[in-house]
Symmetry: C2
Amino acid sequence: MRQSKLFTKTKKEAPTDEVSKNAELLIRGGFINKEMAGVYSYLPLGLRVLKNIENIIREEVNAIGGQEIVMTALQNPELWKKTDRFDDEKVDIWFKTKLKNDTELGLGFTHEEPLTNIMKNYISSYRDLPCFVYQFQTKFRNETRAKSGIMRTREFVMKDLYSFSRDEHEHNEFYEKAKIAYKNIFKRVGIGHLTYLTFASGGSFSKFSHEFQTISSTGEDTIYINEENNIAINKEVFTDEIKKDLGLGDNFKETKAVEVGNIFTLGTRFSDVLDLKYQTETGESRPVFMGSYGIGPGRLMGTVVEALSDDKGIIWPESIAPFKVHLLSLSDNEDVKKEANFVYDALIKENIEVLFDDRNDLSPGEKFADADLLGIPFRLVISSRSMKEKGIEIKKRNEEKGKIVSLDELINILKTVS
Amino acid sequence: MRQSKLFTKTKKEAPTDEVSKNAELLIRGGFINKEMAGVYSYLPLGLRVLKNIENIIREEVNAIGGQEIVMTALQNPELWKKTDRFDDEKVDIWFKTKLKNDTELGLGFTHEEPLTNIMKNYISSYRDLPCFVYQFQTKFRNETRAKSGIMRTREFVMKDLYSFSRDEHEHNEFYEKAKIAYKNIFKRVGIGHLTYLTFASGGSFSKFSHEFQTISSTGEDTIYINEENNIAINKEVFTDEIKKDLGLGDNFKETKAVEVGNIFTLGTRFSDVLDLKYQTETGESRPVFMGSYGIGPGRLMGTVVEALSDDKGIIWPESIAPFKVHLLSLSDNEDVKKEANFVYDALIKENIEVLFDDRNDLSPGEKFADADLLGIPFRLVISSRSMKEKGIEIKKRNEEKGKIVSLDELINILKTVS
């Protein structure tokens, strides 16, 4: 895409009311727009990152058998009253609204109730199990404070996956697969090395749940990492008992972290109340055994920005970057422009995603600063100097110095790196 | 995909409270689930159709220069008070909600206000214009009645596109391009032959707006079609004056129709009030000239079902069908099963999207009835009979009789049709 056509522009100044690094960098780069506290729109560059993250999640969830649907935000109170989760005294993050006839509706903050209800149409026999259903859908949560940029917002897309199994044993099989899928996701989006499977408090059906926590100084959680075993324990359950239970010693490192995903054994909490049953092979009627598995792509995007940035801007991992390549035409000299256009066309032909800074009337310094802020993995420069050296300057965002290569070498480099 | 793994199943009975044909067929087929009146979830088959429609729209809107973003449902009342559209007396379809501090928020039914506000960050000079911004985003509309299935709902995804131009002349250029893009969209989703560019009432900045109306007995609008000129006039503006204005005679056919899209000249209605200005080449300050362009992919899906179905079920156009091919293994005989699996693998290898009815314990009649209801364009049958004839039976959904072809012929047919 030609940057001269991109409607967003970078800003030098961070918004004064924005205290989080992720929102500051993302707003300055034109990735997002703040509508109000905790409510952000995604602009073209930001939406590209978000969709890349969603696609990675989708691939991994499809690979373990997930079937994609999309449920609604508007929630029928009758269902939630059955599980005793409609009352604001019981759940304090509801946004509520009303139909014209004054019926109160909720805006979904999660979807166990409506999905369990849908599955009553389709699950009746052991032959219908197990099955795994997920969505990317907009959640609404009436957070009292929302100061962490896109990491804790009042409206956000969530990938929520739900599993339906015959019994705890069958459930555990999928639960372990989900753990691996989640690890793959965090690795692929570039924060695998900072992310720990973390024991957290469970519910009525399991002693613990599992979170995935990414080390971050701005995180709201405190975790204790055990490096030897590559796991962590959330402060809320960090007791001698759990250390013993898990067979861990006393070698823990305390750190701040962000919860980037969680997996939860629900058991029959919802199927009991909402009457989701199946017949076993011997004709017995049993409640379906459930689990839920959540990841917020926006929070993941914010976490990546917090973890992978420097004082000049963002450093996107290739897998989720808005473009792979940022091509800078560094002079208004006609030969340089012509060469830059030639390289742009050549990259497009090779199906390489490139943002082409073809803007006139900007100094090299301004273009470099923009490239650093936007954080696209490979920066290519066409200038009078590079043309004298008969090549193109290529530099990775996280490298200090670039090098001059030929067009063939360039395409080779860009096609071979993952 | 193997149908034995698909969690949804067809139903023989239509829901008793569902009066519209589109919702009846889509619910029976397991495409959608009714959450409450006017609120539907999309299940795997339905989501595939919806995404196919969205992708066609996206391609056509990108082709005329659209840049994709996604704004939020939660709306800041301050903006809407400026344009005098927050008051329920002025706009009677708002869903409203509240923050914990009691601030009232709206749930967006359209997005002129927030986008105009965003563009103030990015438009300052004539060099920034024109630009075209769109989204696929969930709208909330508090409809008094919602009885048309997925054609009029309280929560739905809308593709809303907004244009920002220097003046009316530049605006009109894009407006004409948008007309053509819209015609392409309706043609590609399979209802081009039933859809008319229709003159409807305008706003403060133009005498008329344009709707795209699709002939449908369940439509809420009445239009007058002039076949010679391939245009129509909405009943609400059907006067002698307009007929004369448009140079049309008196040859009109009255019909019921569904509004599947609309394009609207907004002029400076929003830029004036929200202060979206730019500097001309001569340094003059002028309000930006705007337009808006809407299509609801869900309504389009419902319209297709209404228009293209028979008494056995849906007849999806290939371009938006959930799968291209429905492969039926018609017997539990091991040879038939083996052959069906072989054909399935061969089609997958050719990247042909296929739903494989590999379910056991269903009669041929049940499988045929499901195939007709689901409406996938090509039905393939593997049975003892087809194997005796050393081939595969292929039949289009809208054909009476199939024919036996070899695997090579089959792949040839499926690869060459659009």
